[in-house]
């Protein structure tokens, strides 16, 4: 048994959308795919994405901060999306906690996406079924992939290594350690779904002390004296 999930580091996410397109790329040919795109070259193109990056500003001029927030399925321990599913298509795997949608059983009723407070589920406009993050279940157990690549596509690609995958049940895993050491937070825990993924808050700003200047020095050209330095 395991509790698989992601840690997302908001201290280093620059909002590049690499995770979003890596996810789209892998999963469109993956177990949950294809991920369809409606009007891909037309007006208001809208496709199915399992991971989107949202950008916010916090605080007012001149003290604002920009925050990039990648959002995907949190693989909640008490997943309302699973509870509300009338066909049994949505389920949470016992062996690793991954929340999945069995595409053969989904009838596209949308109840799960209404139940999800994280906006993590998207209805595929072509298939008419619900698509969501699989934690790349079709990568992480694939023994034909090199060991280091048995990770979700978003984690593999993240240029700032702001995404970490692992087992939250293992106290020695990177995800557990980072969550512990960096004060990782669940998103909207008050809703009670007990999301597995955590977000690491931005670190405190680095403070560098100033060079201690001698008050007697400075100001004019004349105070510079030649030192004997050999070339």
């Amino acid at each position: 048994m395991a509790k698989l999930g992601l840690v997302v580091d908001l201290d280093t996410c620059v909002g590049c959308h690499g995770c979003a397109t890596a996810c789209k790329q892998w999963n469109t040919s993956g177990t949950i795919g294809p991920l369809s795109d409606k009007d891909p070259y037309g007006r208001d193109p809208s496709g199915t994405w399992l991971n989107r990056v949202r950008t916010y500003e916090v605080g007012d001029t001149p003290n604002s901060k920009t925050v990039h927030m990648p959002m995907s399925c949190m693989h909640c321990e008490d997943a309302a999306c699973v509870t509300v599913c009338p066909t049994g298509a949505s389920y949470k795997r016992k062996e690793d906690g991954i929340v999945l949608v069995d595409q053969d059983k989904c009838m596209g009723c949308n109840l799960c996406s209404w139940a999800c407070p994280y906006g993590a589920r998207e209805l595929d406009p072509q298939a008419g079924t619900m698509k969501k993050c699989t934690l790349c279940v079709d990568r992480i157990y694939d023994e034909k992939l090199p060991q280091a690549e048995r990770q979700p596509a978003c984690v593999l690609t993240c240029p700032t290594s702001s995404r970490v995958f692992g087992d939250f049940d293992d106290p020695n895993s990177d995800v557990s350690r980072l969550t512990r050491e960096r004060g990782g937070q669940q998103l909207m825990p008050e809703l009670g779904y007990n999301p597995v993924n955590t977000y690491l808050p931005p670190r405190n700003k680095k403070v560098v002390e100033s060079y201690q200047i001698k008050p007697s020095l400075g100001a004019t050209l004349k105070q510079w004296v030649n030192k004997v330095i050999t070339r």
């Binding site: 959308h17 690549e149 002390e209 050999t230 070339r231």
Partner: protein, 982 residues
């Protein structure tokens, strides 16, 4: 696959009922191939590992072994599938239909045989008569070693790539100061730096390496300061954001210099050993020779404190005076370059309290930042105990690191004061002693080079004759200008003329404008590769379209023939006469060459290749092959045997067998007959295969003693000379004081023994802007408009997920953004009565547009900005006519003139560019913002759409890409029956 929980044999039904099932085989790995090549979604050149099945791309991922991206990949790289599958891919050569108007987009498909014949005849005629009538300009390509050589062999002066509107200020600023530069020629020492300042980096240049680097800084607890008027992208994670007023970075940097000098916080040993700051400068204002170095028997002199006498500056057994005024034996007054520097920057003009007024950064912050840098440089010094030998052969027992580093790009580069601003930032780095030391700014092989690199631009061209040197090079004095005896420009873009004397990347942004005017002369053929000059890559786009279609009185087009090679249906295609469809990046052979701008990292010389991973399904030919084919047909000497036969069968053959010097070719790796030699060696007939076996790249690690202080490191310089990167092992002396710039200034003053300008405005520009020491001046547009009438700066940046890509029709990336807004600071908006999502007129001296506003907090209050190149023409790029890019998005380009704002003086017809380098000054733009009247909504201007090209694939209404039939993971029946409960 995953371990099975039970191995008890059971029927299918029973299998569904057990607690856990074996995972199905999601991927048919035995039907897939893994191939390695180099990404081309931008200029970053990451290594990619591509999984292919049935000639379809399954997955593109970063190559974990690659020196540039180390396994990671950005949003563009991950969207390569949609580039490969774009319906806008050109499918066959095309010719504008006879009798139709250029720009109408009516074409007929022709064969490659006919296309190449048409091109050959045209080019042969030009080459045999007046080769400069061919203007050949390329866009975001990375093959300038080949295209430049081709132009040289053709014999036209009129060749350049897009550097003139991209980064020439950064390249020239670095190469004329310290022999390397930001971005392609240097990097911060991400592994050791403790204090990092990022100046004007608009989510770009470069992509993944900066992101990897920033992560390292954050993990290590280094401080990251960002200087940028807009807080997006990288700036979001900066420890400190400096909301600077655009165009004033040079003043900020020099004010920090002022603080350092006032407190005597400079690395004097570094200055004396590695820079020209102790050299003696003649101080005779108004007299010939003023500002030049004092020489005896041809050698520049310093004042040796040991012997109290003049001495050759290159000697090593001297103790040069860094400061002071002296007199030559003939009475000529002299002073050290450092004394001039002190005098200049200790001036009150650069005091923080005065700089603050212009920069919008308060004086305390300027002072504090300078002192923080000094603290890290001088109190948190790093020492690496590695023995190395300096240029004079002296053993040194350690490298001393001053771990302050910087990176700067577009926000510096795209201003008309960018060259001097870039020099100002380098000055700051140099005073702190942070050049090529641990924790500082590191050069990347084949850099550093001597200051500047020793190539001079070609000046003469003659029929059927190659140029004597490349079309682009590095002038060091007015004699090197590419002008005629009367002082008129010889190049169509007026590069290397008095308008922009050291325009080392050319001025691609002026080509269409000048050619349409016949100024300085008319051309016959404009040949463009991968450059969207009919749209977002031009300043003044709307008028550029008119120029492309302008006719003479006799009905002939002012630009008689336009050839364009592109893989996609760009806006430029419709304005071309002959279209040569290129391959995509996944379909071609290509080199990212050591002769050009290779992919080296600071501690490794690296280059790479592209190898096809997909077979094209269209009648296309890579531009590389077209170049080699034309070179053969036109019998360019370097491409022809003494017997008059073709020397190379094609591109691959050329790359393997061409040698620039004995043993040196386009690719530095796997040379020698058996592939065992690196950097230099005879051609290896299996070189392509060797690259393929090595995942598409070559990496040559420098020894630990060759990794730092390379400008003065004999161990490194000997290697560099052997590899052909430098011409000698002499020390690369850092030029804080540029005598080369001073020669131009003297020409402006009428005090030069050589070419001098005759027109007053040229003289004034040389005197003012060719300061041998970096200085701050107000950007030219700001100087020539009424600052009160146009109160806002207007800048633009490319979003990270489209940075440097030329195919924003990408079906995935355009879902992230297909419309841009005019962003402005909320407080500034409220003051001006401008509301969120309201429509406004944005007006510059050059024109006006209507755009929709979004208010934000993280934006300088005197700045408005937008995402650039989002707007497209309907029908281009496979887009529908009502695509958001065509109907809602807007280009800021319409507001930017390629010429300086008119004031009724001689500068009216001069390029809107840096007066030193000719870098397009597209960040100089100033605008006024007025709310649109009631009922005035929608983007303006809008443009007509393009019709589909013959043979074009229709764009799908629905796209469901998969490289194979997707394998569903079924939920086990027991799990359903128990609703997941035990």
């Amino acid at each position: 696959m995953n371990s099975v929980k039970t191995d008890v044999p059971c029927s299918l039904d029973a299998q569904l009922l057990i607690d856990s099932v074996e995972l199905p085989e999601f991927e048919a790995h035995d039907k897939q191939q893994t191939k390695y090549t180099t990404c081309y979604m931008c200029a970053c050149r990451c290594g990619i590992k591509v999984t292919v099945e049935d000639n379809q791309v399954r997955f593109i991922q970063g190559n974990p072994n690659h020196p540039i991206n180390k396994g990671v990949l950005c949003a563009k790289g991950n969207s390569g599938i949609m580039k490969q599958n774009s319906p806008a891919k050109l499918s066959a050569p095309m010719l504008r239909k006879p009798g139709t108007e250029r720009g109408a987009g009516e074409f007929e498909i022709i064969s490659w045989a006919r296309a190449l014949d048409i091109l050959e005849k045209r080019l042969a005629q030009i080459r045999a008569t007046d080769p400069k009538k061919l203007a050949y300009f390329t866009g975001r390509d990375q093959m300038q070693a080949l295209t430049g050589m081709w132009a040289s062999q053709f014999g036209t002066l009129n060749w350049a790539a897009h550097g003139g509107f991209c980064s020439v200020n950064m390249a020239a600023g670095g190469l004329y100061t310290m022999g390397h530069a930001f971005w392609e020629f240097g990097d911060p020492d991400w592994d050791n730096t403790k204090y990092f300042v990022m100046w004007g980096v608009a989510e770009d240049h470069s992509s993944n390496p900066i992101k990897i680097g920033l992560k390292k800084l954050k993990e290590r607890g280094a401080k990251f300061v960002s200087v940028n008027p807009v807080r997006t992208g990288y700036q979001a994670i900066a420890d400190e954001w400096i909301s600077i007023r655009p165009g004033t970075d040079g003043l900020l940097a020099l004010s920090m210099v002022h603080v350092l000098l006032r407190h005597q916080l400079v690395d004097e040993e570094f200055l004396i050993r590695y820079t020209n700051s102790p050299q003696l400068v003649v101080n005779t204002p108004g007299v010939k020779g003023d500002g030049l170095f004092y020489r005896r028997a041809g050698e520049i002199q310093i004042w040796d404190q040991t012997t109290d006498s003049f001495a050759d500056a290159r000697r090593t057994d001297v103790a040069p005076a860094l400061f002071g005024e002296f007199k030559a034996p003939d009475g000529t007054p002299l002073r050290t370059a450092m004394s001039i520097l002190l005098h200049k920057y200790l001036d009150d003009a650069y005091a923080p309290e005065n700089a603050a007024k212009e920069c919008g950064v308060d004086a305390e912050t300027i002072e504090r930042l300078a002192l923080e840098m000094a603290q890290v440089a001088f109190r948190e010094t790093i020492t690496l105990d590695i023995e190395w030998t300096d240029w004079a052969g002296r053993k040194q027992d350690k490298f001393i690191g001053r771990p302050v580093s910087m990176h700067a790009m577009r926000g510096i580069s795209a201003h008309s004061n960018g060259f001097q601003t870039c020099r100002a930032i380098h000055l700051l780095q140099i005073l702190l002693g942070t050049i090529d030391c641990p924790g500082g700014h590191l050069a990347k092989p084949p850099f550093p080079k001597h200051v500047p690199p020793g190539i001079k631009p070609a000046k003469e061209c003659a029929p059927n004759t190659p140029l004597k040197s490349p079309p682009l090079g590095f002038p060091t004095c007015p004699e090197d200008l590419v002008i005629d005896a009367a002082g008129n420009p010889l190049r169509i873009d007026k590069a290397y003329s008095w308008d922009a004397p050291i325009s080392c990347h050319g001025l691609m942004h002026m080509v269409i404008s000048n050619a349409a005017k016949g100024d300085p002369y008319k051309i016959d053929t404009l040949m463009l590769f991968m450059a969207n000059m009919a749209w977002n890559s031009s300043m003044n786009s709307a008028q550029t379209l008119e120029m492309l279609c302008a006719r003479e009185d006799d009905g002939e087009y002012k630009i008689p023939f336009i050839v364009c090679s592109d893989a996609f249906h760009s806006e430029m295609v419709a304005y071309s006469d002959l279209i040569l469809p290129d391959t995509t990046y996944l379909e071609r052979y290509d080199t990212i060459s050591m002769l050009d701008r290779p992919i080296s990292e600071p501690h490794a010389a690296c280059d790479s290749v592209r190898i096809p991973v997909i077979q094209p399904d269209r009648d296309v030919l890579s531009w590389q092959e077209v170049m080699i084919e034309m070179a053969g047909r036109l019998k360019f000497p370097a491409f022809t045997t003494p017997e008059g036969e073709r020397r190379y069968e094609g591109y691959k053959d050329f790359i393997v067998n061409f040698q620039k010097q004995p043993g040196i070719g386009f690719l530095a790796g796997y040379r020698g007959a058996d592939g065992s030699k690196s950097l230099r060696g005879e051609p290896n007939p299996r070189q392509w295969e060797a690259y393929e076996e090595n995942e598409g790249f070559f990496e040559f690690q420098l020894e630990p003693n060759q990794r730092y202080m390379r400008h003065a490191n004999r161990d490194y310089m000997e290697l560099a000379k052997e590899a052909g990167w430098v011409g000698s092992t002499d020390q690369i002396l850092i030029e804080l004081y540029s005598e080369k710039l001073q020669t131009f200034r003297l020409a402006g003053q009428g005090l030069y023994d050589g070419p001098m300008p005759t027109e007053e405005h040229h003289k004034e520009r040389l005197v003012k802007y060719f300061d041998p020491l970096p200085f701050f001046y107000m950007p030219l547009e700001e100087q020539r408009i009424d600052r009160d009438e146009y109160p806002f700066h207007a800048v633009n940046q490319r979003p990270m997920f489209m940075y440097h890509s030329w195919d924003s029709q990408n079906a995935w990336l355009r879902q992230i953004m297909s419309q841009n807004y005019l962003f402005m600071n909320r407080v500034a908006g409220e003051k001006a009565g401008i509301k969120e999502l309201s429509w406004v007129w944005v007006e510059s001296h050059n024109g006006k547009i209507r755009a929709q506003v979004k208010l934000m907090e993280g934006c300088n209050e005197q700045t408005v900005w937008t995402w650039n190149a989002i707007a497209k023409k309907g029908g281009a790029w496979g887009l529908s006519k009502d695509a958001n890019e065509a109907t809602d998005a807007f280009l800021m380009n319409h507001l930017i003139s390629e010429l300086l704002p008119a004031k009724g003086d001689q500068q009216d017809r001069i390029t809107n560019s840096d007066p030193v380098t000719g870098q397009a000054a597209w960040y100089d733009l100033r605008v006024k913002i007025t709310p649109a009247a009631d009922g005035e909504t929608g983007t303006w201007p809008l443009f007509s759409s393009h019709e589909p090209l013959p043979g074009a694939q229709a764009s799908p209404q629905m796209l469901s890409y998969s490289s194979h039939k997707n394998v569903n993971l079924k939920r086990p029946m027991l799990d359903i029956l128990t609703r997941g409960e035990k």
